[in-house]
Amino acid sequence: MSHVDDGTLHTYLDGEATAVERERLEAHLAGCAPCRARLEEERNLIERAGRLLGLAAPPERPAPSFHELRRPRRGGRYGLPLAWAATIALAVGIGWYSRGLLRNRSAVPTPAQVAAESPAALAEPHADDIAHDRTDSAPSGRIAPRRNQPSSPTPAPPSGPAAMATGAAQAADRTGRVEPAPPQPVADAVGRLEAESARPVLRGVTAAAPTPSKAVVLTSPEANIDASIHRITTSWPVIEPKRARTVLGEDPAVIPGYPIQALRRNPAVESEILVEQLVDSGVVLLYERRSDGGPVEIGDLQRSPAAAAMRKTNERLARYVRSLRVEIVGGLSADSLSTLLGLIR
């Protein structure tokens, strides 16, 4: 029989033995071959049990941002807290919209028209809604901050956006991918939202540029803030990959599998670069700094409450990623969004 009981062996193998226990056991094992054999048996047992448990483990999923957990949620089988769902749904809605626009140009109304009257055929870009200069060739847009979602992270009232949100989140979460749902419900939801808030919150514009990727541009009435942020980003000088590597001290993190539209450097911050990648019909901006360069922020743009609100939205999205700051500009489907965030992690 053995000189050492199972419990002691397992405690030791689990790394939970005290120093005294460890020394005593190791001293014994040094001179006792049978016990050494038993130790190996138990080690294998632990490994086997661990592997079996691994077979009965849930698939890994990215955790929602911590700040979305502000309140205990009411009952419901939504896979995501509502506020996070609202954020996704906005991207989903935009994604669906842009897909619809790409595929079925004649049948899909733009949000702008929903805001106006009834759904109609796709319109030309509204000049007055294009609130930013485009200094680079590919169009991109920005998810506008919603007026009725100021500083608190709690979700909007259960109607409008949350209905859209939960529907989208539910659909996205249940199937693991976004079903090719018709854009119509999104248009209705947007219309409802605008009707409720009694002023236009989102205006959609198709950027009809002669490039392979089209994006829906959404701007808020405070378009000048959007414009300035966007302009700053697109005005940054484009650099070579080699330069980016030098600036960062390592290769820039990119989302594998998606084309890199540009690498830019921040003229104001020496250690920071921007990676622009085309994902679906949107553009993802990754702001990266040298690892000793401190946290990334968009410098002095937080003067207005709208910009602060947008930064807050972006902060939520940005929290997914440890050392990168990610901005998502334009349309992304929900499964792209989570894949993307998963990849970056």
Binding site: D6, G7, E16, P58, P64, F66, L69, R70, R73, R77
Partner: protein, 167 residues
């Protein structure tokens, strides 16, 4: 010094989901409950968040199981067999079968042994396990040894039985 809850979240969320999954056997539901537990922690601000979270999670899962047992008229989560599934690609089907076998083997353990094993697998230390289960710290190793052995034995016996039955 109390740990920042956001840090606890970062380090413990996945483990909590894993722990809950072995109770509710539904990944989405497990994630829901984990988030709910963290949301409550934000409100209650426990001084020992990690331990508190696992206790709360275990209670929530248990309450939910009781509620569902009352509400359900039929077992949709069968103890003995995997759910009859639509034709699936082979590797996914076999993974599910294996998962179901492990689940069945887990059922073979006593509740305490199972709890200790699942807590360990969710990253709890012996001290934390002792605190949560009421076991003496010195008994945790013995319990784990027994639980692991029973799990493996039950799993192997279960597979054997299946093979015999199939013939």
């Amino acid at each position: 010094m109390p740990e920042d809850l956001a840090d606890v979240y970062r380090t413990t969320y996945a483990a909590l989901v894993r722990f809950l999954y072995r109770k509710v056997w539904d990944a989405e539901r497990a994630a829901d409950l984990a988030q709910e537990a963290f949301a409550r922690a934000v409100v209650h601000r426990p001084s020992n968040p990690r331990g508190w979270l696992f206790v709360v999670a275990a209670n929530m899962a248990r309450d939910e199981a009781r509620r569902e047992a009352r509400e359900r008229r039929h077992l949709t989560l069968l103890r003995n067999e995997p759910e009859p599934a639509a034709p699936q690609p082979d590797d996914r089907l076999s993974a599910e079968l294996e998962g179901a076998r492990v689940r069945k083997a887990l059922d073979d353990l006593t509740p305490r042994d199972r709890e200790v094993l699942l807590l360990w697998d969710a990253g709890q230390s012996y001290d934390e396990i002792a605190a949560q289960t009421g076991l003496a710290r010195g008994a945790v190793g013995t319990t784990l040894a027994r639980a692991r052995r029973r799990l493996v034995e039950a799993y192997e016996k279960g597979s054997e039985a299946e093979h015999v039955a199939r013939r």
